[in-house]
């Protein structure tokens, strides 16, 4: 017994190392396979408020640019409003099902294979998990963890991200994923080979998702090729959003989300 204790004491650093590595490996693997940790994420009070202060300061340097973006968006919306309603707008029932809230991005990230963003609104302001997040230019991500005053968003630039998307003015839809390499392009897969494609075509969100309304812009086709089995296209999509430079975002609350989720949950249970 004495020998065992001596042995452990002698190699205590090695044991400590092994033990701590084991703990963190479990955490790493968990965060790779499923939603990232509920306890250690940047939506928490401490990290949230520090990022909030940081954004308060750095926000001033981008005010002019932000104003320009918002005015341009207003311009676009005014134009939609004045010109032929119904033609350019999504169907009315689609609008009525969604509520929009404005929030501010306080932490951005583009360089990791799994990027998470942090916004300054939380459950007190009505933010819930799985809400869609967009900017004036297009989609940004999906809310993942929510605390009282902050929330983390799984960016489209995340290898775990998988969003329903389609080619504008057609009904062919596929999955929008990211290979983790370039922060200006994402990939659209599972588009059948019979679909006519042109470089420069617009990609928008599809109607199969309960998170995003239909026809939110994503990006344009940069190049495309058939996948190794020659049945589907792999499409490189250049994002409309400049992911490195985002401050103001909109949250989309889908009224039907909970109903659809419980329904889907019940279907898969049985």
């Amino acid at each position: 017994m004495q020998r065992i204790i001596n042995f452990i004491l002698r190699y205590r650093n090695a044991f400590l190392y092994g033990f701590l590595v084991l703990i963190s490996l479990v955490m790493t693997v968990n965060s790779h396979s499923y939603h990232h940790s509920k306890f250690f994420n940047s939506s928490k009070w401490l990290s949230g408020s520090i990022y909030g202060w940081g954004a308060d300061i750095s926000g001033y340097f981008g005010l002019r640019e932000e104003n320009r973006k918002l005015v341009e968006e207003n311009e676009r919306l005014r134009m939609l409003l004045f010109n032929a309603p119904g033609d350019t707008l999504p169907p009315l029932d689609s609008i009525a099902d969604y509520r929009v809230m404005a929030a501010r991005l306080i932490k951005n990230s583009i360089s990791s294979p799994r990027n998470y963003l942090t916004i300054d609104m939380g459950s007190k302001q009505g933010v819930e998990q799985d809400m869609g997040v967009i900017t004036t230019n297009g989609i940004l991500g999906i809310v993942e963890n929510v605390s009282n005053n902050y929330a983390t968003v799984q960016s489209v630039l995340n290898t775990k991200s998988n969003i329903n998307a389609k080619i504008k003015n057609s009904e062919y839809f596929g999955s929008l994923i990211w290979d983790g390499r370039d922060h200006t392009t994402v990939q659209l897969i599972d588009i059948p080979r019979l679909v006519p494609l042109v470089v420069g075509d617009t990609i928008v969100t599809g109607g199969m998702s309960s998170i995003f309304p239909e026809r939110i812009p994503i990006g344009t086709i940069k190049k495309y090729e058939l996948n190794p089995s020659r049945t589907f296209y792999n499409i490189e999509v250049e994002l409309f959003n400049d992911m490195a430079n985002i401050r103001n975002v909109y949250l989309i609350e889908s009224r039907d989300l909970n109903e659809i989720k419980t329904l889907e949950g019940r279907t898969t249970d049985e």
Binding site: N13, Y17, N30, F40, S47, P113
Partner: protein
């Protein structure tokens, strides 16, 4: 509170803040975010208790992870760098390191730079291997390690000469 402990504590807090508020959003050349907190392992007193040093490093990594949503990558990488530090010290400074009155003052610049570079290399290698977690992307891992590691090394060298206390 004694002076060295206080200094370490201040460095800990300031390094976390600098890392998460400035260097995590740097995106130099389209996505290089140097990890300057590695210099903590360089600055930490050489003669301290190794177990405590490992625990402190682990929490430094974990705290950075919490801010950057990279759970436990930084913790493992920091822990490994801390665990390997005595070996690296012996490698870089040889027998001198064993003496009681050893300090950075009577070492050469090259020795110190090698020490720092090895710390950065180990930390980044562990971090990016686990981040990508796929050996088929071996070249991508190497590219990230060298690109980010180089920028980190340059910044850490700058930091170490800017904030080197005269008394140590």
């Amino acid at each position: 509170m004694n002076n060295a402990l206080f200094l370490t504590l201040v460095r800990f807090v300031l390094l976390v803040l600098t890392q998460v508020l400035i260097f995590n959003s740097l995106n130099f050349l389209g996505g290089i975010n140097p990890m300057v907190y590695v210099i903590f392992f360089y600055w930490y007193p050489l003669k301290g208790n190794q177990s405590i040093f490992m625990l402190v490093s682990f929490f430094l990594g974990l705290l950075i992870d919490m801010f950057s949503d990279t759970l436990a990558l930084g913790a493992i990488a920091s822990l490994t760098a801390a665990y390997a530090r005595p070996v690296i010290l012996r490698f870089c400074f040889g027998v001198n390191f064993e003496f009681q009155n050893f300090s950075f003052k009577n070492t050469t610049k090259v020795q110190r730079l090698t020490f720092l570079a090895l710390l950065v290399l180990i930390h980044h290698l562990v971090y990016f291997s686990l981040e990508i977690l796929d050996w088929s992307h071996f070249l991508l891992i190497l590219r990230k390690v060298f690109a980010t590691g180089l920028v980190t090394l340059v910044l850490c060298t700058l930091f170490s000469s800017l904030f080197s206390p005269k008394s140590e």
